[in-house]
């Protein structure tokens, strides 16, 4: 279970997260939506300890990751897989080596097991033929799927997705959504997905949180957000920039 309690973060002198609190239950797919610059990616980086909160707590299975030592944090991170917006593949290694490196971090697999797991992970994301390709030779969608394969190869208990479908065509977006559903159904993974695409809310979300300027504007079921009369929620859901809230053009 992931618990976030009263999380505050400033970057430079700008407050980005202003006292966020929420919980993600085991097995749940939790989608965080919000406008660009609302603090979604910053929030996600707190969940895996890439950023430290100014105050507040992030608890993973009851452990406050902000208070852990470096070694303890590494242990907790082994439960978590993260898919980055750009894929974040290591560009000096082939796709297969990227996944193998992730597996070597666990130090419990033999060379043969690593080879098998790389193959298996690439088959799941339909990239079996791309093992020897370099990241520079991949399309945007392939990079994202390779990033998925790298994260899923470690059999994580939690998956964090940062804008998994941004910049992809509708068919590829559908494919990525199906992959996320597959992970959830087959591996019972708890997922946190950061996005501004409503299609993900409709297709894969169990629960939705809307972030607005670093604060929770909505936290509830996908069906509830559709019916919400809150102006901030309405504006985001309709994508209508003329609605009279916040700044005007």
């Amino acid at each position: 279970m992931i618990q976030v309690e009263n999380l505050y973060k400033e970057l430079g002198s700008k407050p980005v997260l202003k006292g966020l609190s929420f919980e993600v239950n085991d097995g749940e797919t939790f989608v965080v939506i919000g406008k660009s610059g609302s603090g979604k990616s910053v929030l996600l980086k707190h969940l895996i300890g890439l950023l430290k909160a100014d105050s507040g707590k992030v608890m993973i299975d009851g452990e406050n990751i902000g208070a852990l030592s470096f070694k303890e944090l590494q242990r907790v991170r082994q439960k978590i897989g993260m898919v980055f917006q750009s894929g974040a593949l290591f560009d000096s290694m082939s796709v297969g080596e990227n996944i193998a490196l992730a597996l070597r971090s666990k130090e419990e697999f033999t060379k043969w097991e690593i080879k098998e797991k790389v193959k298996e992970a690439l088959e799941i994301v339909d990239l079996a033929e791309a093992a020897d390709l370099m990241p520079s030779e991949l399309s945007g969608g392939m990079k994202k799927r390779a990033g998925f394969a790298r994260a899923i190869a470690l059999d994580p208990q939690y998956m964090l997705y940062d804008e998994p479908t941004t910049g992809l065509d509708p068919v590829m977006t559908d494919m990525i959504n199906r992959l996320m559903l597959k992970f959830k159904q087959q591996k019972e993974i708890t997922s946190v997905i950061v996005t501004h695409e409503l299609r993900i809310v409709h297709d894969v979300a169990d629960r939705v949180l809307l972030l607005n300027e670093g604060e929770v504007a909505f936290n509830g079921l996908p069906a509830e957000i559709e019916k919400s009369e809150d102006p901030v929620v309405r504006q985001f859901m309709t994508g209508d920039s003329t609605l009279a809230i916040g700044e005007k053009i």
Binding site: F70, R77, I80, M82, A88, L89, F90, D91, L101, S105
Partner: protein
């Protein structure tokens, strides 16, 4: 008005913040020394990149710096000083100053800039975040091999630079003043003490550590996109050059 007053103050604060962050990174680096075995292959790769592949440019620069020292000595000696003293001047200049200094400055451009660009690009494309998310220690995985490789390989490069610098000096002395190899070596031995060579190696280790650790620091804390990487690379070259000149003076004042 306030902005004009606070601008230099903010600059001074940022300077000391930077120094503090650099030393914190060095602490993390020493902590990661325990994982050197895990990163041994990476370290050997970096030794090849930093050391072996720098040999051609080191040979070229040291050869010419030795040659120009001989030419200038010959010009200044004219007919008053015996010509074999060119060997003394070239030997002392190359071993004590030219080989470590020229090698350090050349490698700031070749090695320092490359390291910052590599690590900086990894930072802005979230590859370092990805490493951390996979439970790797990015300092142990990225910085330790580069700093170790630099610190170990620089002395070897300086030895090569010493040899070719002195050799270049003799070639030039022979061509300009018709100094034979026997005379040149006689002059070389005149003022030579083994400490001169050891001092060059002390400089090499210091410069190797300084160049690679400064380059890693600027790469690791790169911000922004391609422009940020470019800026970090430029800062690395400038800061490393100034640091080398400063360390050169400090080491000379301490050991000579």
């Amino acid at each position: 008005m306030f902005r004009v007053i606070f601008y230099p103050i903010r600059g001074v604060i940022q300077f000391f913040e930077g120094i503090g962050r650099y030393f914190l990174l060095q602490l993390m680096l020493f902590r990661s020394l325990t994982s050197w075995r895990l990163n041994l292959i990476n370290t050997i790769d970096q030794m090849m990149l930093i050391g072996a592949r720098s040999i051609p440019i080191i040979i070229l620069t040291s050869l010419f710096s030795g040659m120009v020292t001989a030419v200038q000595s010959a010009y200044q000696f004219s007919s008053f000083i015996p010509s074999y003293y060119v060997g003394s001047v070239v030997g002392e200049s190359v071993l004590l100053e030219l080989a470590p200094m020229i090698t350090g400055l050349v490698l700031t451009g070749r090695v320092g800039a490359t390291i910052t660009a590599e690590i900086g690009t990894m930072r802005v494309t979230e590859q370092i975040d990805a490493l951390e998310s996979l439970s790797f220690d990015p300092v142990g995985y990225l910085i330790l091999p580069r700093v170790l490789a630099g610190t170990i390989m620089f002395p070897f490069l300086i030895i090569i630079a010493d040899f070719f610098g002195v050799f270049g000096g003799w070639v030039s002395a022979h061509a300009q003043m018709n100094v034979s190899m026997f005379e040149f070596i006689k002059g070389f031995k005149q003022w030579f003490t083994p400490w001169d060579a050891w001092f060059g190696l002390i400089k090499a280790v210091t410069f190797g550590f300084a160049i690679t650790s400064i380059a890693c620091y600027h790469g690791y804390y790169t911000k922004g996109g391609a422009q940020g990487v470019g800026k970090a690379t430029t800062i690395t070259v400038v800061v490393s050059c100034v640091t080398i000149v400063f360390l050169d003076y400090v080491l000379a004042a301490l050991f000579l």
